[in-house]
Amino acid sequence: MSYLIYIAEFGLIAIFFLWFRDIRLFLTTRLPGYRKAAYQGVLFTALASLGFSIALYGADAEIIGLGLILAGLYLQGRIQKEKIFTDESTMERFFGSCRCNKDKDSGKK
């Protein structure tokens, strides 16, 4: 097991994190960009999980596994999302806490 496993692990955690963040932002904002990101995040996270399994268990296939994880990350990053932040702090932005629309009950923006 080489240090590439740690990179793969980091990639997988990052993709899970970004997916959960997109879900959180979608639940807050109900914007179509975040909806798409939350739905497609299932596929990309699955792809990254497969990549991590290959990197972890596949003999001499760390690079292939890492490639799948990076592909997942790349595809997740390509989804166009709306600009939503205004005066939030960096940590709030990072963890997906948005003040732009808290009217979740109405289901409208």
Partner: protein, 601 residues
Amino acid sequence: MEIAEELARKQRSISVAEFFEKNKHLLGFDSPTRGIITTVKEAVDNALDACEEAGVLPDIFVQVRKISDDVFRIGVEDNGPGIVPEQIPPVFGKLLYGSRFHQIKQSRGQQGIGISAAILYAQLTTGMPAVIISRTDARKKAHRFELMIKTEANEPDVRSRQQVDWDRPHGTRVEIEFKSTLAAKKRLLEYLRYTSVVNPHARITADIDGEISTFERVSAEAIPCPKAIQPHPHGIELGTLKRMLSAQESMTLEVFLVENFSRVGKQVAREICEKARLSGEQKISMLQPADQKRLLSAMQSVQIPAPPASVCLSPIGEDLIRRSMDKEFSLDFVAARTRPSSVYSGHPFVVEAAIGYGGKLNADDKALILRFANRVPLLYQPGACAITNTIAGVNWKLYNISQQTLPAGPIIILVHVASTNVPFTSESKDAIASIPEIEREIGLGLKDLGRELKLFLSRRDKKRVADDRARAICAVIPEIAIKVGEIVEKPAPDTQAIEGKIMRKVIAKRRTVNGTVQIEVNNYTSQPLSLKIYDFSPDAATDALPKPAFSEKSGDEYTRVWNCELAAGGTWTARYGGRGPGHLDLQGIEEKQKVVMDLDV
């Protein structure tokens, strides 16, 4: 009958000078190129021996000047005790004349042949006399001799003698002119460099046809001069024993043994006598040839402690070898070992070995092997030497060093054999004979060093892998910062500080918070550092803490300097009241090792 008489008329004795005149290759004068090195070697050896005996730090000057197409003048000058004028002609003009032959102790020269042979070689090739200048005291004038050797009689032939002024308060200068070439100039400088390595207390300055090289000393302590010891019973031969017995016929056997041999006390003497079936009270003049043989056999079979090597030998020492090698070769790794003293045929010896790795050494070459005997470099006949053979006999692959008979790579191996009687293969002292005891000690020393080198190499490889990983991470960090910036919809943060921490650099930060300028310097390197911190700003900073070592206004700006000693992993901070704009700089560290950040920008 007539033929026999005619042959008898031709019979005559041969002087030792005549013998060596005909067989100069035995003394290392087999070619003009080599002659120049042998001459310098003999003169420098004598100079070092003389300084050692006088307890002074050697300051030796070697000069080689071209006189005509193929004639060179060699001059070697030392600051030793000098030679009394009466002794100068025999010392330089007679072969086999010297003070060390009958002493059992470590010394470079022994037989009293070397420098006389060089003078003999000079008069053979150019017919010019050697010039000797020597001064024994600052209150006396120096004596200048021009002398040659009467080869048929092996006696000095003094051509001129006069008192002269000389700039050295004491010392000796030898000037010899002979036919030679400077083809071996590189080797001559190598010889001087290697001599400097094993004589770390000596400063050697060489002027080779106008090109000056200085080999500086690394130790300012004169080495203790080895003291002569008595012969050891295990190293004696029948002829020597007979001579010793005949010289002191009035003694009793027991007293003779106790007084003439090292490590023989009364009890050992009695044991020897018992074993030889002789009485200790017996006068030695009464011993018959058969008794003498029995006595010798008993002397060599009785268990006797090894000779006192610490008295008669003068090893260089691990620390000085390391320092000398580092000075001359600038290595990444140097380790040295001085083995415990050992004995072969009654002669004590000490083996010292050192290994250097990396630095400026060429990785594609074979290992550089430096052989030394009694602090003298051995430059010729490496293949015939026990040192080379022992190095080839070690399995270097076990220590992660490639090997094709001899080890290969950026490696330097030094072996020094110090003994009261170094077993050379010939009189030219080029190679050490294959003595199992010596080879065993060399092997043990090298294996010990090999293990240390292996440890260094494995640590270095681990560090290299860690550095590669750190570099890979540092390459990814800015990309991650950009991505995170995109995610949080903010500009990418400055990642220099994180990179500096990972790459083990010094990071200096300057920021202004609520009207206070803060300066922070972190040393993430593994070395303690002595830094000068420069801060330029329009603020007067009279309240600066700590107070700067220097503060001056130039134009609209103030310049402040702090001197800071920063341990590895340490942090230094300073603060003062101010508005903020300004800039920071560090001195005392390489540019690529520092990161200076202005957080106000």
